[in-house]
């Protein structure tokens, strides 16, 4: 029993890191724009596809494999720079102030479109390039061989949590975002260009989604259907943490990661149920998530 504790914890952390990357962008976008982006999972898989394509190109040209690390980051920036402003301007902006049902449907429509566009651009086969994994090698921890890349991912997740916190607490942009989150009209009336904030925040969300996909690609590859699977997982994590709560998403990712790993270790038949069961339990006790809050209506 005791010899499984260390692998169990490490697996939970590694699993949580991947799950966190799937959800953090969704929750960030919701916190600023108040829009639940159902197409978030597609942006994740597009990030993975772009990263896979670039890494495969690097490998085929026999360029330095270290470039593939740059490629992972670059693909996230690339996807965010193109799709972020494009989607925000054409579709998301139209939904501001509309009902949640409309927002969900518009982004669901976008999800459907992006799923097919991916098939057209990247084909239907699974893509995969693990140069970054191979470069980092392996370590033996608690009697089990782990990829150093898994530990790298845990580090990246921690870095993103800290980075976002720094961005929001200690930069001008962060203060502007905080102002918009607190009171949109007030922010507008004191001269904050909310449109710009929305584009930036949405693009940052796209960046985080694409980065998640790009970072997951070297271990898991990418194939059609990844977007839909990622989406529900991201929903679950964001909901558990409280929509719009970034630290909440991190804690929720740990909970879901631990739940999944415990299931695989001890009740393997329930592994796929674990994230949703965790979500259901948390939401029934705290409907607005662990860190969420409600506002009452005035009459």
């Amino acid at each position: 029993m005791s010899n499984t504790v260390i692998p169990l914890l490490l697996d939970s952390l590694a699993s949580a890191a991947l799950i966190f990357f799937a959800a953090v962008g969704l929750t960030l976008v919701f916190s600023v724009l108040r829009v639940l982006n159902v197409a978030h999972g597609s942006l994740y898989s597009i990030g993975a596809y772009v990263a896979a394509s670039i890494c495969l190109f690097i490998a085929s040209r026999q360029l330095s494999p270290y470039l593939s690390f740059v490629a992972l980051l670059f693909s996230a920036v690339f996807v965010a720079a193109i799709l972020g402003p494009l989607i925000e301007r054409t579709l998301i902006r139209w939904t501001y102030g509309k009902s949640e049902a409309v927002q969900i449907l518009i982004t669901f429509g976008l999800f459907l479109m992006l799923e097919d566009l991916q098939r057209m651009v990247f084909g239907v086969q699974s893509l995969y390039e693990d140069a970054p994994v191979r470069l980092l090698g392996t370590s033996q921890i608690g009697g089990v061989v782990y990829l150093n890349y898994q530990i790298f991912l845990i580090g990246m997740a921690v870095l993103v949590v800290i980075g976002l916190r720094m961005l929001i607490r200690h930069t001008r942009l962060g203060r502007l975002i905080t102002a918009v989150v607190a009171d949109r009209e007030m922010a507008q009336s004191i001269g904050i260009d909310t449109n710009r904030i929305f584009i930036l925040a949405f693009s940052l969300g796209v960046f985080l989604a694409a980065l998640g996909g790009a970072l997951a690609m070297p271990t898991s590859g990418v194939a059609p259907g990844l977007g839909a699977d990622t989406m529900v997982l991201a929903f679950a994590v964001a909901a558990i943490g409280g929509l719009g709560q970034i630290e909440g998403a991190a804690v929720a990712a740990l909970i879901v990661g631990l739940a999944r790993v415990l299931a695989i270790y001890f009740v393997p038949s329930l592994d796929a149920v674990a994230p949703y069961a965790a979500m259901l339990v948390v939401l029934l006790i705290r409907p607005y998530g662990l860190f969420g809050a409600v506002t009452a209506r005035r009459i």
Partner: protein, 431 residues
């Protein structure tokens, strides 16, 4: 007024319905074949080689005048759309009398879903990859055929090969996909081990969801159990992902791994030496029998030229299924005096037939199940290919691993005795 229009329309429709053409005995302008496989999603890694082979074979048929002089028109259906869409497409295709035969399907879920419909609509349906032993278990099928072996001989073969190669095995872990094929495969393999070497312990059984991209936690779990043997019938992109993730983490060095569908990824993912792999049947393009067959060699080279890699066993299964269909037409027309056969006559011709394939023969029993040989071996470095090939092979006779048509397969396995292994050919005997 409206009522009148309605009535006229009704009468018109009724008239049209009565005009449905009688069973065609004239040779049609073309023969439609509905071919069901995965052309998208993670399963396409396994399904596309099947489609590629179908493309190649049908072009080859048509270059030689088609089937009995009628050009063949394949209609591909992507199984990735789910059971509902697959059934809708099947019905739509079956509605057109030109589409006389269906070659369906890849996934056992779709095979099981289509089988009753095939019987109801009376369309000859050839399961090109329907290996689940549940498919024909009731023995009543008239229109569903399987020219391959089924899961029973396929997975007993691995148990026997393992016990021959590694007689002192004590602990076994299983990681299979979470659906019938995975569970059936595990049950058969476990039952066979239990009968042939009762002291073997199954230390872990993991069934990850089909299409899971990430197996890291499962790999950790397997590593903490230190099993002598890890058995898996993962396939498609799932198998590629599993192997890529497990190789650097040392699973292949710490345990003897059996990859039941390992041959499909030999050209794509570097597999270490000594992994037990097979082809779920006799469909290896480099087997001694295949190499001796000029047609097979040409097929492999054409395939390589057209698709950039050599065929894998799903390609061979598809090619053999089409050869089986072609042979049925020939037999049916011989029987009815050269007239173009009806669907019923084609099905009749398939029953009890013995057909020479690219890699051996397939005999169709009275219950429509096929008897084919089973090839198992281990990965070895190849002197002339840039990827590992199968060495130390054995070829088990098809009927030696099959229960009788009316026997409960799992019950039959439990009657096997450890001595059974000794009666069979040994690893390395097939050269």
């Amino acid at each position: 007024m409206k009522f009148k229009v309605g009535l006229t329309a009704l009468a018109f429709a009724a008239g049209l319905a009565s005009m449905v053409p009688a069973a065609a005995q004239e040779k049609p302008s073309s023969l439609g074949l509905g071919i069901f496989t995965f052309t998208s999603g993670p399963a396409a890694a396994y399904g596309m080689p099947g489609k590629n082979a179908a493309d190649l074979m049908i072009d080859d048929f048509n270059a030689k005048g088609g089937i009995e002089g009628v050009p063949v028109k394949p209609i591909y259906v992507d199984e990735a759309q789910g059971a509902q869409g697959v059934i809708a497409e099947y019905r739509r295709l079956a509605g057109d009398p030109k589409n006389q035969v269906m070659v369906a399907a890849l996934s056992s879920a779709n095979c099981l879903a289509l089988a009753p419909i095939a019987e109801q609509l009376q369309v000859p349906t050839v399961g090109w990859n329907c290996d689940t032993h549940q498919l024909l278990i009731d023995g009543k099928s008239k229109y569903v055929f399987r020219p391959n072996g089924n899961t029973i001989p396929e997975f007993i073969a691995y148990a026997i090969y393992l016990l021959d190669r590694k007689p002192d095995v004590k602990t076994v872990a299983i990681i299979n996909p979470d659906y019938a094929f995975g569970h059936d495969g595990a049950n058969i393999f476990k039952a066979a081990l239990k009968a042939l070497k009762p002291d073997i312990q199954i230390v872990a059984e993991l069934y990850p969801k089909m299409g899971s991209p990430n197996y890291q936690t499962e790999i950790s779990r397997l590593a903490t159990m230190h099993p002598d043997v890890v058995f898996s019938n993962l396939w498609g992109a799932d198998l590629e992902n599993f192997v890529r993730q497990a190789t650097p983490r040392g699973l292949f060095t710490s345990s003897q791994v059996i990859l039941a569908l390992g041959e499909t990824i030999l050209q794509r993912v570097p597999l270490p030496d000594g992994v037990i792999v097979g082809v779920l049947g006799d469909g290896w393009w480099m087997s001694p029998d295949a190499k001796a067959n000029a047609e097979t060699a040409k097929f492999a080279e054409d395939y390589k030229a057209r698709f950039g890699e050599y065929p894998v066993f799903p390609s061979i299964k598809m090619a053999n299924a089409l050869i089986y269909v072609k042979a049925a037409y020939k037999a049916a027309m011989q029987k009815n005096g050269g007239k173009w056969p009806t669907r019923a006559e084609i099905a009749d011709a398939m029953k009890g037939s013995t057909v020479a394939t690219l890699t051996g023969t397939t005999h169709t029993r009275a219950d429509n199940d096929g008897l084919v040989d089973q090839i198992v071996g281990v990965t070895v470095k190849s002197p002339d290919k840039p990827f590992p090939v199968i060495g130390d092979m054995v070829r088990y006779k098809g009927d030696s691993l099959m229960p009788k048509a009316d026997q409960d397969p799992i019950a039959w396995i439990s009657t096997l005795k450890p001595e059974f292994v000794k009666t069979l050919p040994k690893p390395g005997s097939y050269k």
